[in-house]
């Protein structure tokens, strides 16, 4: 059952990721990236990482993709404004990515994974467990990330503001 779910989710993830790269219309790219993020959230649920699944949907589908959508609409991008790269560069890009994939596959093949529990531990991804780790061992980075957010917010406002001449 979970293998079937894994295959379905993986096929959807890979297909939507390919659509992101290969479609000409930026709007379709954004929409299929949203699908891709939802399927990755499905993978998290399959791995019983419920806290991360919810956070992933809130952060990515709720915040980041809305930002992307607004930007694409704001800049009025469409297929006409998108000039594809020249044929040579596209072939080079495909070969480069393919060779990276082969290299990574070879390194995976030659690695022996340590002894992992085969039925994965089920309680580690629950809100209670991750929350406890976050507020005890990782309290300082958690608080510092709020400063990062504050500076990113101010930076975004300053950068996107219209300059007065």
């Amino acid at each position: 059952m979970s293998q079937l779910l894994f295959f379905t989710l993986s096929a959807m993830t890979i297909l939507s990721a390919l659509v992101v790269v290969f479609t000409r219309k930026p709007m379709y790219s954004v929409l299929s990236l949203i699908v891709c993020f939802f399927t990755i959230a499905g993978h998290y649920i399959l791995l019983n990482a419920q806290f991360l699944a919810i956070t992933h949907i809130i952060v990515y589908a709720g915040a980041i993709m809305v930002l992307f959508l607004f930007t694409v609409m704001l800049l009025n991008l469409n297929a006409d404004s998108d000039v594809p790269k020249s044929g040579k560069l596209r072939i080079a890009a495909t070969i480069t990515a393919g060779m990276l994939f082969v290299t990574l596959l070879a390194s995976i093949k030659s690695t022996t994974l340590g002894d992992f529990a085969f039925p994965p531990a089920s309680d580690k991804g629950l809100v209670q467990h991750v929350g406890q780790r976050l507020f005890t061992d990782y309290l300082l980075p958690f608080e510092i990330s709020s400063i990062l957010f504050l500076s990113a917010m101010i930076g975004a406002v300053v950068l996107a503001k219209k300059e007065k001449h």
């Binding site: 990721a17 990482a49 952060v59 990515a97 039925p119 580690k124 990113a152």
Partner: protein
């Protein structure tokens, strides 16, 4: 252990996230629109997140999930600043084509 046959081995997650990462790399090299490139970077970040969660779940240690949480934090900040930069670039040169932005190239 009868159920174990229906579970997903860790290797499959390795292959899936490797493939996703390579799609992201390919998108960065393949496209000229800066917004699509930013989206492909998000794709790469997500493939690494997926692998971290898989390793964390299979090793029964929740540290990896906390790292994924922090990666999400950084990704959100990065997207906010990156899109603000793109809007400012669009205002100045009227396009998001990275081949137009070649003043610092050579």
């Amino acid at each position: 252990m009868e159920q174990a046959a229906h579970l997903v081995p860790l290797n499959w997650y390795l292959f899936l996230s490797t493939f996703l990462f390579c799609i992201g790399v390919m998108g960065v090299l393949f496209r000229r629109n800066a917004i699509i490139i930013l989206m492909c970077i998000e794709l790469m970040l997500n493939s690494v997140n997926l692998l971290l969660v898989a390793f964390s779940a299979y090793s029964g240690n929740s540290d990896g999930q906390v790292f994924v949480f922090f990666i999400m934090v950084v990704a959100a900040a990065e997207v906010a600043v990156g899109l603000a930069l793109l809007i400012s670039i669009y205002r100045n040169i009227g396009s998001t084509d990275i081949d137009v932005l070649n003043k610092l190239k050579w």
